[in-house]
Amino acid sequence: MTDFSAENQDATVPGSEWQRLSPMSVIYFILRFVVGFARQGIQNLAIFGGIVFATGSNRLGMIVFGIGVALVVLLVASVLSYINFRFRVNRNAFLIHRGVLQKKRLTLSFDRIQNIAIKEPIYFRPFGLVTMALESAGSASEEVNLAGIDRRVAEELRKAVLARPAVAEPQAAAVADALSNEDSAGVLLHHKVGELVRYGLSNNNMWVFAGLAAGAISQVDDKVGKMINEWLKLPESYIASLDTITATLLGIATLVALFAFMMLLSVIGAIVIYHDYRLSFEDGRFLRLKGLFERSETSLPERKVQALELKQPWPAILLKRRHATLLQVGFSNDWEEGNLNPKQSKFIVPSLTDENTAKLVSHLYPDLDFGGISFTGVNPMYLKRLFFVDWASPVALLSVSLSFLATPWFLLLNLLPALILPFMWLNYRRLGYWSDGRYFAVRTGLIGHKLVLFPLHKAQSVKVTRTPGQRRRGLATLTIKLAGHKVKIPYVPDLVAKGARDHILRVIFAGHTPWM
């Protein structure tokens, strides 16, 4: 019913009347409310729990009544959201009206759309419907999900929108082929489950899970805490009866079990998110298909990639894999400090062998000699600063004040910097930079490493900073800002930092290569 091919653009644009989403989108709204409620934290539940417990004898009735009311409210809110969500497409923009109590009208012009992801959640699959996520170049409040539209309509819309600025229009059919046909030249990756298990084992998400678990446990109600304590009493008395060695072994076994459990969660997470991962490169854009319950299709024009991040955490060294992230423009303040935005627009390419890494790099940066990268280390002053300024001095201050306030035993804290000195040394050894005049790379890490690689014309601004100690030794800190990312190399020779700055300014001026 909707055709957005180029010939038709001057005629009346079909789909220009106001439309609603499919009624099935009510499911989407319900889920969104539930997820939103869950995100507010378990505190919400604690309030309800408190109400229920306060009512005393008639507990069951109250629970049933409470759940019933919640369900009705949820359903009504979702239906109202569905009824109030309307959209239309004119020649160069999406117009969206939404909101129940507070009406919002949004005009999202095609130029501002960074990326369109088509997602196929499991509950839409039987109906041939998809969710179309429009990622704009503006703030997060301008992100729009068109949940529950026909797959063909979504694909035509995407084609129409993404093809606009490009000279050559990518053939949608070819794209679909590229993703489904293994033999096609553009296919970069197709991950089997085994590869995803490697990813799950070797990424750092395990620690994220551990953090979430710790957070959840700390939020648990006192009552539950007491229950857990009582349940733990039995092993406690049991442990008390054991000798030291057995108790230690038991402790270690528990830790190993916990560790294994986190690993398992990480592997399951990797499989759910990246199941049947396919990546291909066609007409200057990366196309990605992934997901177990929700298949999502993302296309990312190569020119919108600001930098390539290659990570190899220590478990990944054992498994001989790297994980890549194509960094796009970020628009949150959090990006300033290198923090990850929770709603990140990161394009992750998991579990790459050396060969696959080289292939990905050659698609992204064809004129870069990836094998020829050799890093220059920073001045040993960096190690001294890490030890004395960042660790020894604050620890000494803290331990002396604590020893005055409490017990002199706190002075033992001063051993800490010496104990972690080997790690500082590793960190110093990992820190390095490289450039061939067109590309720039920075390596950081401890045991594993992270490498950020970008062409110099993607730089936005450059800063050279010198502390008194650096000035005395002719050193400086070089900070290169990209759109949404920042690399900082401390303790490089002053001349190198200033030379790099002048070179980058010249590249930007002379190159005329757009950064986006």
């Binding site: 600001q306 423009v329 970020g330 628009f331 949150s332 303040n333 990006w335 300033e336 220059t376 280390g377 001045n379 930079y433 490289w434 450039s435 061939d436 005049g437 730089a459 936005q460 601004s461 450059v462 800063k463 050279v464 900073t465 010198r466 502390t467 008194p468 000035r471 800002k481 990209l482 759109a483 949404g484 990312h485 020779p493 001349l495 190198v496 200033k498 030379g499 790099a500 700055r501 002048d502 070179h503 300014l505 010249r506 930007i508 001026f509 005329h512 757009p514 950064w515 986006m516």
Partner: protein, 178 residues
């Protein structure tokens, strides 16, 4: 270290202006005054806190010349004045053919450089102190950051407007080229 390909590649290039040849212009002379007023406000706050503490804890009453403790913060005054003037004198901006630079800092000396064709938008702001002294802050924004990438904190109002017009013209001309 100076013999790496990187270093030679970047440094031994033709007629480019050497790093130190950026010709920094001083900011408006009232910049020192605004810095001083802001510092004195914090100083006044801390001094009040100090006075309350030594009164409440009875520290001042414990010594024979305890009242001298109330005068202790006065020692900081000349130091504050000295550093504000020094900080202001070390600030500078430079507008070249294709880029704008700003330097600042007494101990941690930073120099920020922003090429014109990376500027997304330009903003002029004036807070109360700026208005009192007839100053303007000129802020330059590049892509992908919430805060300004380069801020020139104290320019005479008409100078800021002139500079903005000049740079916007440059930015516009560049965009037309593409």
């Amino acid at each position: 270290m100076a013999t790496t390909g990187f270093t030679t590649e970047l440094i031994q290039t033709d007629d480019l202006p050497e790093a130190d040849s950026i010709n920094y212009q001083p900011l408006d002379r009232h910049h020192a005054s605004t810095l001083l007023i802001i510092s004195l406000l914090s100083w006044a706050g801390l001094t009040t806190g100090w006075s309350v503490i030594i009164t409440v804890t009875g520290l001042a009453a414990r010594f024979s010349h305890g009242y001298l403790l109330y005068l202790l913060p006065l020692i900081a005054l000349p130091i504050i004045i000295f550093f504000c003037r020094l900080a202001a004198s070390l600030c500078g901006y430079a507008v070249r053919e294709q880029d704008v630079h700003y330097r600042s800092g007494i101990f941690w000396r930073g120099e920020t450089s922003l090429p014109f064709n990376r500027i997304q938008h330009v903003e002029i702001t004036r807070d109360i102190l700026d208005r009192f002294f007839g100053l303007s802050k000129l802020k330059f924004f590049a892509a992908g950051g919430g805060s300004a990438d380069l801020t020139i904190p104290a320019l005479r109002e008409e100078e800021a407007i002139k500079l903005r017009a000049f740079i916007l013209e440059k930015v516009g001309a560049d965009h037309n080229d593409d």
